[in-house]
Amino acid sequence: MNYISLMIAIPLIGAIISFFTRTRAQARMVALIASLVPLAISLQMYMGFDKTSKIMQFVESYTWIPSIGVKYTVGVDGIGLPLVLLSTIVSVLVIIYSWGEDKRPNQFFALLLLNEVGVLGVLTALDFFLFYIFWEIVLIPMFFLIGVWGGPRKDYAAIKFFIYTHVASLVMLLAIFALYFTYHMPDGSRTFDMLTLLQATADPKIFPPGLLNIIFAGLLLGFLVKMPAFPFHTWLPDAHVEAPTAGSVVLAALLLKMGGYGIFRVILPILPHVNKIFVTVIAIIAVLSIVYGAFLALAQKDLKKMVAYSSVSHMGFVTLGAVAFTWMSIQGAMFQQFSHGLITCVLFMSAGTIQHTVGTRVIGDLGGLADRMPKFAFLMLAGFLASLGLPGMSGFVAEFMVLTGSYATLPVFTMIVVFTSIAVTAGYHLWATQKVLFGPILKKYLQVHDAHSYELFSMSMIILLAILFGVRPNLITDIMGVAAYQVMGPVVTLTQMGVI
């Protein structure tokens, strides 16, 4: 079975059909079906995944542009599969959350599906050419989601988002070119095969250290901007504040994960062969992202902006765990990707629901909403607690693993700084929920009614998942275990694995 190709093709077909539907009911039904099928496929893949195997699974490989060494190669391992699962889950839930979208629904749902296509492609592509194409395709639906359905400064935010991340992608492309032109296959031809090129970077005779450092920096920039890490995070708050709720959810839950995925897939295999200064630089960036993100979140008046900065802070844990380079920290960082992807959905959905039921997201103007929106308040509170790292939910496990794993290799003062920021994190989460939900209800909000059932459904599903993976993290970490070892060892190509 060509699981992966099907999983990518079906949302694409769904996007085209949805684009041409005439009513909202048709559009959303098409979108729901076209996103449920990939979810079923990814669950099937999850069931069929061999957790002990070291090789890429579900691999498909076809020649595409043989004269320049481009192949259509897709496959997943423990790095990709959890994120594939995340993407298919979030795509379904975000479509359900947007059930009531009434502005150009056919285009809206088509773009959500197109976005899923791009993300799944990035997470499964094993050829740099293919990878880059999907990487760029993702920008297009997000540009329109922000630009058409966004807030007052949507034009500015959409263009800034596109150009900022596109420039970073182009830098990455230059680095890919350098990889491509430096390495020859044994028969003299060239290849874009990811694993082959990554394996070759270990050989200083092919990639002299000076060149490899430059290539590494280029790739790193591409991924850090996407994550986004301090100081490349400035596009994120604008994009989030202006984006519609579904756009924000997809942006935070899936698009940022592409950056993290790139770190694991591409950056870590090269890391042992480049100048050691990079480790320090990345660690500093990670710590600054965690701390700076947390403090900025603390200072925000807009609930959504606060959540956006909390993403910067939480994604810092991914970078930190990755660069600490121990088995536990890497696994924790991978799990943090998965966990943050889930939890951040609730946060953005909360901000979105408040925005359109109450009409404002300014924390200072809100108060006592729990009185009129009890179900919503319960879910939002659960989401915020999950985000601040309440034990029993997935966020706690992830951050715990990152911190424990990093303790061995990173200097003690970084740990102290990070732990301080965790207190700040708890602070802004609690302060915001307290102000928004509790206290006496403000008079102007007496007429407010609870959130729509489809919104509550999406949010509660995510809370359930966050609890499930908080109690049984091994459901996901078991898949990642072997991959986390693999990342630290030498890269093995698909041919050596015997897959193709």
Partner: protein
């Protein structure tokens, strides 16, 4: 005389005969715009078939008429580009020049311009090359003024004057080359000892480059392009940007790479400066424009800058061991970009023509600019097909995958890195990023702004041409393999074996 021998030139013969026929019939019949259009369309499609069948056959590399015309992979590649562009113009014109008086002349001129471009792409002799160049140029001068509005006339006049001066430059350069080498054959010039004529060769090179650079619209020889593209009928602007500009490249490829190979270091330097200037200035100026056709014009200038990178990369590569492979790859990249740009720009100008038609229907306010970007507001809902196609062209021009524009840039920029020209590749990539701004600006007007008027029914001819172009742009991006192979074959023609 064996006529069968001349079948590879059948397309040119057919189009020339058709041009005469169209004029004759047109003078006899009234209101024959549509008939002439379909006749021309049929002729172009058949010619395209002929050219493609020659390109597929193994009999390439034949020379005709005393070593003046060569039918090889390169010539057929360019001919296919020109024929596709002209075909698109004709399909779109079926809606535009339906009952216009003198439509027959429009089609006849278009056919002659196409023949001229095709002759240039086959020429291996400077005189034939010049004749073809002038045939195409003179026909397009007339076409640029075809609607006879004041803006048309101004555009055509400017184009004519700049074009004539550039022809004069080119001819002077040719005459110097002839004086030094005693031959007008490109192969003959290549084998002559040019270096014996030291300073004069440089003068000849400068004149030749200047002559071509006008047609290619490289900075600082680009001044005519924005005014002409803005003022000429939109479809003719498309023909100029997508077809006639590529003729400049077709000519320059043969003359620079083959005839003037001995002056490699000199033209390497010249084109390094020209390419860098052109892409940067083109993009920077495009950002400030509010007239969409001017944006397209400057974007076209910038794209010419990318294409001109081919010269730089080849110049650098040929000085390296095993440089021929890099050079071939780079020319192939240039050719792919030329093919892609021909489609993307043609499509963009057809879309501009639709908007012009729409604005006319709205009732043009006195003194307002029909191509102003504000007229594109909400185009996504006013003219969905046009807007969607234009969206694809804009992304393709910006080099977003998977489109023809991406593949061309990918191969070309990659070859620059391969040749060690990292600065050039970085500059080009930064420029690509910069260009995204004004492409996104048009897109944001089309899709993010509220419509400025009611929905219109898009004329069929325009819609068909747009959809065909869009399929081409995406098709080349998704299945680049055959096009890349063809471009590699064409590139091999230019390199010493």
């Amino acid at each position: 005389m064996d006529l069968g021998f001349y079948t590879p030139l059948g397309a040119e013969a057919l189009l020339t005969a058709l041009a005469v026929l169209v004029i004759l019939l047109g003078s006899l019949m009234k209101k024959s715009g549509n008939l002439m259009g379909y006749l021309t369309l049929a002729g172009l499609v058949v010619s395209l078939g002929l050219v493609m069948s020659t390109a597929m056959s193994t009999k390439l590399g034949v020379v005709f008429f005393f070593n003046t015309l060569s039918v090889d992979a390169l010539s057929q590649f360019f001919k296919a580009v020109f024929l596709v562009v002209s075909t698109l113009v004709v399909i779109a014109s079926l809606s535009r020049y339906k009952d216009t008086k003198g439509a027959d002349e429009f089609y006849a001129l278009l056919l002659l311009a196409t023949v001229g471009m095709m002759v240039v792409s086959s020429s291996i002799d400077l005189v034939t090359l010049f004749v073809g160049f002038e045939l195409a140029s003179l026909s397009t001068y007339a076409l640029a003024a075809f609607d006879k509005s004041k803006r048309n006339l101004e555009a055509a006049m400017k184009y004519f004057i700049f074009g004539s001066v550039s022809s004069a430059f080119m001819l002077f350069g040719f005459s110097l080359l002839y004086g030094m080498t005693g031959t007008t054959k490109i192969a003959g010039i290549a084998s002559a000892a040019l270096s014996n004529f030291a300073p004069a060769t440089l003068v000849a090179l400068i004149f030749v480059i200047a002559g071509f650079a006008f047609k290619m619209a490289l900075v600082p020889f680009h001044m005519w392009a924005p005014d002409t593209y803005e003022g000429a009928p939109a479809l003719v602007s498309g023909l100029l940007a997508a077809g006639s500009k590529k003729m400049g490249f077709a000519a320059a490829f043969r003359v620079i790479f083959v005839a003037l190979l001995a002056l490699r270091l000199e033209w390497y330097l010249a084109f390094a400066i020209l390419a860098a200037l052109t892409m940067t200035l083109g993009n920077v100026l495009a950002i400030w424009q509010n007239n969409v056709r001017r944006i397209f014009a400057y974007s076209s200038v910038a794209q010419a800058g990318y294409m001109a990178m081919t010269f730089v990369v080849v110049g650098a590569a040929l000085g390296q061991p095993n440089g021929a492979a890099i050079a071939q790859n780079s020319i192939a990249g240039g050719l792919l970009l030329i093919l892609g740009h021909a489609l993307m720009k043609m499509g963009a100008f057809i879309a501009a023509a639709v908007v012009g038609y729409m604005v006319l229907k709205d009732g043009l306010k006195e003194g307002s600019d029909p191509d102003d970007i504000s007229n594109y507001a909400g185009l996504g809902r006013r003219a969905p097909i046009t807007a969607f196609c234009l969206l694809i062209f804009m992304f393709a021009l910006a080099g977003i995958p998977p489109t023809a524009g991406y593949i061309g840039k990918f191969v070309l920029f990659g070859s620059a890195i391969n040749a060690g020209l990292v600065w050039l590749a970085v500059l080009a990539i930064l420029n690509s990023a910069l260009s995204l701004y004004y492409y996104l600006r048009i897109i944001s007007y089309m899709y993010l702004k509220e419509p400025a008027g009611p929905k219109i029914s898009e004329p069929k001819g325009y819609a068909v041409a747009l959809i065909l172009t869009m399929i081409g742009v995406i098709g080349i991006g998704v299945f680049p393999q055959p096009f890349y192979n063809w471009a590699m074959q064409a590139a091999a023609v230019l390199l010493p074996h």
